[in-house]
Subunit: 428 residues, 2 copies
């Protein structure tokens, strides 16, 4: 059995653009970490014929096919029947699953309908992965598909990410791990303040000569990541290779932009906020925020991380000018003269929220996220930042508007406010 | 030329799970709205051979292939060269694009590197879509691929969603629209308080007998949507068909759970918050929130919607007990006896934030999002809600913990708090 996998999502709602296929990204990241190669992902609608074709095609390229979705209780859920058809297997009632589904509905005090029991029909002799996060169990079928010569494996998981993700990690990974003879490990370096092509211009010689580990830059919304990926027999060996390469990258001109590193997709996605929390903890400082255009997103991003209550005291969402004035103590004079989107206002917001929460460091953001509200002097994307701590108050104005929409301006604003704190703490 | 499209994303970072393929969902939604059929989406890594194979395979099934990603300035960006190879076309420097790229860097005061100019190399005689949101232009090639008999079209767009989405809407849609002889229109009904299988049990007879429009339920995290999709010659004709079906659905037992409707993916994703803003406006009321476990997410979700400043005054993120006490005025006695996660605390939080902001309606949430912090009496997922308005204060405790993680508990909490306001306003 080789290590080549494919991921196939089943669902017309994905083809219609109604839901985003996050399952594929999650599973792909885990497969890479386990040392499986994955050269293709596909999405097929709820159509038996096309699904059977796509399964057969995938088995022409890969040995392990992971299917997500189409295991639900409704009549357009066709994954199990299609896989059974490709392998030439009948479906049978799986008694343990039937009991689990009945128990699930009892626990929730909800009425079970007959179609829920269709979820307990399983291809003959398949491996069943119990679902502790929903009703449809996962199923794995290993065998020689009709008309083929080699053994193939199809693994079916429910589509909702809140079920698919833990099912993969808790059920499928241990089952797959034994099959993989090698492992892959990645380390991301996170750079703030440089673009993708700038980073590549510096790192091109390293990228071109490096085969193991490989080095690749890629652009995220607010930062550039340098991904270092090593292949080896053990995680320790891979880690050593990655570490040596990280030191090489850090010694280049690009090194000055590196603000943190990450290993998992979750760490990568949350790199700035994790670095912020870590910096605050190391310096024994608490934080608070006064937010206007971001409307709570700064605090909420910290709240995304479990256990952040030791460093986040709270904040004030001051959307209305009255809230800026009455709760944060911004002088009405400032609001009437230079306006809410100004550095004097940002300074008073930061000082105000620091005073009323008692935080060591307070930040403020007030800006024009658009699409309306821009003026020639303060176009959409103008954001004023304040930071107040025991050393005093600093402010800056940044223009995020060029080629950005409302959502992006707000996310860039949160990232910038967090980087401002990280850098302020490093100054000490 | 038929109306069958496929979407093919190019990028090893998607296969490794580092980024989620949101472009496919966006484009798929738009294609459906334009009346194009789409039976498959795929993802391929940055490998010339596999990409050329995938392009040829897609052209065996579809007439229009939309490729995203792989147009960047780095050496692993291979989309244009692969498409040119499939069509047997040379690449040529496109002067207008070269000037645009130079202007982009001048405007941003950033240094252009030589590899940026590779973005101006275009397959001979291709259509170029100017990119006002980044540097890589979009490209469309129409012709007979080598070894094929029929005319095919490949449309290439940059991968970053902040470029891909407006490029598709502003540049590609007008170009494609003329090719489509019919149109498709969808209407979503949003249901709160019933599960997918419950909704399907009620609607099964309608679903089975309906061909145009079709009716399909699907489960989202906090709600069930019933999607009604009609095909016809004009949008007006489709709308009439959808409207008649929506009335049929509303007349069933499921009708009582419908709280709003939506047409676009953006409206669908934001259905609760759009309904909340609409209800507040209709009643001429303002809102504020005191948030503990959601840490600003309630306010931030309202801030996602442009122009919500007429109804959102602001709020307080009261992560620390001191903030609950000092800013919101929750009596220390309550925090010491029944604790922060309690209905008395929620009541005082809502009343406190209503008092200090002057909002007409104020809500509060205080709960245990986990994974830590649970107790046998208050397990993870326990959330207390408060709502204060001129009629008085009401509270409730909800248990979201069953099969939910921290992020999901926080999102379900925000949805519930919003539904509580919507229903309170309907009571009047």
């Amino acid at each position: 059995m080789s290590n080549i996998c494919e991921i196939l999502a089943v669902g017309t709602e994905i083809l219609l653009g109604d839901i985003i296929n996050t399952d594929a990204a999650y599973i792909a990241g885990r497969l890479a970490a386990l040392g499986f190669s994955s050269y293709r992902q596909s999405v097929i609608g709820d159509n038996d014929g096309r699904l059977c074709d796509a399964i057969r095609e995938a088995f022409g390229r890969a040995d392990i096919l992971i299917l997500t979705g189409g295991l639900g209780p409704t009549c357009d859920d066709i994954t199990k029947t299609s896989v059974a058809e490709v392998f030439g297997l009948p479906l049978e009632m799986h008694e343990k699953t039937k009991e689990d589904i009945e128990a699930f509905f009892r626990k929730r005090n909800r009425v079970m309908t007959e179609n829920n029991l269709a979820q307990a029909m399983i291809p003959k002799d398949a491996v069943v992965f119990a679902n502790d996060w929903g009703t449809a169990p996962g199923v794995a079928v290993t065998g020689i598909p009709l008309g083929m010569a080699e053994e193939k494996t199809a693994i079916m998981l429910p589509g909702p990410p809140s079920e698919c993700e833990p099912m993969f990690t808790e059920r499928v990974e241990p089952w797959l791990a034994a099959r993989s003879g090698f492992t892959i490990h990645s380390l991301n370096l996170h750079l703030y303040g440089i673009g993708e092509s700038g980073a590549e211009a510096i790192l091109r010689p390293i990228m071109e000569e490096s085969r193991n580990p490989t080095v690749a830059p890629y652009a995220c919304e607010h930062e550039v990541r340098i991904r270092i990926t090593a292949k080896g027999e053990t995680v320790e060996e891979c880690r050593r290779l990655c570490e040596a390469m990280a030191e090489r990258v850090a010694a280049t001109e690009a090194g000055q932009y590196i603000y943190t590193r990450s290993e998992t997709p979750w760490e990568a996605k949350n790199a700035i906020v994790l670095k912020l929390i870590d910096s605050l903890r190391q310096h024994g400082k608490t934080v608070a925020a006064a937010e206007s255009c971001t409307a709570g997103m700064f605090c909420s991003r910290i709240g995304d991380i479990p256990g952040a209550s030791d460093i986040l005291l709270g904040g004030v969402v001051s959307y209305a000018n009255e809230v800026k004035e009455n709760i944060l103590g911004v002088p009405g004079e400032i609001l009437r003269t230079v306006g809410a989107v100004s550095e004097p206002c940002a300074a008073k917001m930061a000082e105000g929220v620091r005073r009323i929460t008692g935080a060591d460091i307070a930040v403020s953001v007030t800006g024009i996220a658009g699409p309306g509200g821009g003026t020639p002097e303060k176009p959409v994307g103008t954001v004023c930042f304040g930071l107040a701590d025991e050393k005093g108050t600093v402010t800056e104005t940044v223009q995020f508007g060029y080629k950005s929409d409302r959502a992006k301006i707000r996310r860039l604003t949160v990232a910038r406010a967090m980087m401002n704190i990280i850098r302020r703490l490093e100054e000490r």
